[in-house]
Symmetry: C2
Subunit: 344 residues, 2 copies
């Protein structure tokens, strides 16, 4: 178990997309975040008190969360030096980067010497099974997207909270580092060995018989040429009864790939249904989630209404406007036709 509360690391980050993990924790678990650590050249903030390591420790922080992303997930020299200083100040370290804390000799040495813990959240369990595709009991929803980083985790967490408020049993199943830090459990899907992608999802979202829902955090996009394999295995392992499509309406191109345009909503829905049907022929889409954080509210509401009308699917910005209409559609009984009538 990772000890809380957390100090959230922003470091030298310049791009808001690069502090996704730290921001997710600040948003969904403000109760366990005492402050943020950033260098003077970092223009970003999570609106938490800015602290150095000693001040954070004095304020009660137990773990520095390296909640940043960078290409390839490398541990750079600046990051290593900051982590060493945090260990010296009495903090444990948790990281979701591909490159393991425990693989860096200076960090391993310092942690051992100081009696501190290094948590590599992206280290999968060693006993993952190969997926078997066998139909399992229970109801599952999966978020999918036109691209990476379009709000799949936010949407899934909003759905989990809203279902719980309605008294429906619901479990958030984390598949990425932020989600795992939020939920305290999950599988770091992008760090799983390729042969075990769908099996890992079968394991993290086991059969359930309480009439509740597993809400599975999606990853990547079938249209992202770097990560579509992960998204494919996730769809197959999840055997989803319901999909929610997540989309960023102002994204200029696929994340990290200026030479790839975003796919349309209709084709993304159709592609996801087609892949998902291999393991659950009854899969249907129950809503569209837009990340409208870059738009004024009236414009955002108008866009939601327009997309809702075009696709005949409840459409919302989950974080901004809630997910009640999507839940209504999800919980409807007697829905006959799988898929999206408007786009079948």
């Amino acid at each position: 178990m990772i000890e809380t509360p957390y100090l959230l690391y922003l470091g030298h980050s310049q791009d808001p997309a690069d502090i996704k993990t730290s921001r997710g924790l600040a948003v969904f678990r403000p109760d366990i975040c005492v402050g943020e650590y950033r260098h003077d050249d970092c223009p970003l903030t999570l609106d938490l008190p800015r602290m150095d390591f000693a001040a954070a420790r004095a304020a009660g922080a137990r773990t520095l969360v390296l909640g940043i992303a960078n290409a390839g997930g490398k541990l750079g020299e600046a990051l290593i030096l900051d982590a060493l200083a945090a260990l010296e100040a009495g903090l444990d370290i948790a990281s979701g980067l591909h490159h393991r804390l425990n693989a860096e000799p200076r960090l391993a040495e310092a942690a051992a010497r100081l009696g501190r813990q290094l948590h590599d959240v992206r280290e999968p369990r060693p006993d993952l099974p190969i997926g078997n595709g066998k139909k399992r009991a229970g109801k599952r929803l999966l978020t999918v997207g036109t691209d990476c980083s379009v709000g799949k985790m936010y949407t899934t967490l909003c759905l989990a909270s809203a279902l719980a408020r309605r008294g429906v049993a619901a479990d958030f199943r984390a598949t990425g580092q932020t989600g795992i830090l939020v939920a305290g459990d999950g599988v770091p899907l992008d760090a799983v060995i390729a042969d075990f992608i769908s099996g890992a999802i079968e394991q993290v979202s086991p059969a359930r018989s309480d009439d509740g829902w597993d809400l599975i955090e999606g990853q990547g996009s079938l249209y992202h040429p770097s990560f579509a394999g992960v998204s494919t295995g996730l769809l197959h392992g999840a055997q989803p009864d319901a999909l929610v499509l997540c989309h960023d309406p102002v994204r200029p191109h696929m994340r990290g790939l200026p030479h790839y345009p975003l796919p349309g909503i209709a084709e993304t829905i159709e592609a996801n249904l087609r892949v998902a049907r291999l393991t659950n022929a009854e899969v249907r889409v129950v809503g569209i989630a837009l990340n409208t954080s870059a738009m004024p509210e009236d414009e955002a509401r108008a866009l939601c209404a327009s997309i809702e009308a075009e696709f005949a699917l409840p459409t919302s910005d989950p974080y901004r406007f809630g997910v009640e209409a999507i839940l209504d559609r999800l919980l409807e009984t007697g829905v006959a036709a799988p898929g999206v009538a408007a786009n079948a």
Copy 2:
């Protein structure tokens, strides 16, 4: 480098599909295989001299190849004891199983004590990039399949040999353990971390400008719920100009999954073209490869003719009847329409 010649391990295997790696080496590199090792309960043979470890060493063998597959790629106790005996007899060990030889303390200890090598062929390079999907120079062919283990490696190797006989520069790009042992290089794709699947293929099949072909060994199937993620990333990383569809006409169900029927040829072609177009809009199918080893010759020839007529694509059992018609289609110039006219 793995020292040759090889002794091929069959062990206690009962299912011909489980000795795929050993058989592939016996078929494609008979020049470097001195014998086979099997227990009395093993009904299978590669028609190589049966030898124990000491006799194999005396006959010149340098490495025991654990060329067998089993669910999950585990190193069982029987396998470990055999490997220990082989080390004691003076052989190195090479393995393509998921479970690493070097992770088994008894093997690591014995190898160190005896000065022997343990080769984990399924250990990917540590420096794999994330795929970028950027169009790269050169011509690439990828084999795809209705299922796992339907002849993708055989087909790819046959195509490489036949192209070379025509004087066309051609490189076989291995993506599985047998292929790597045959070719001496490649990427063990099913052991790569999920985020790096397409990047690994971009690396193993780099840009080329000599007007030759990269022939990339396919893996899995878009219709196999355990492994479709691997197949998806492989299609995106390969950016194939040409696909050859591989199919086993007598396979009763998806490998290992009695609850999943095989997809049809037409839908498999369509699904692969759809996924492949994300990174190469000009991809086309140039042939169908059938594994007819379970059928009499006249029946096999009739089936090839029938499927060839149905899909308007050159169809053959590459190992039994050659790949000349497929190569003719591949090397045709001025082919206008991508895809398969009969199924578009």
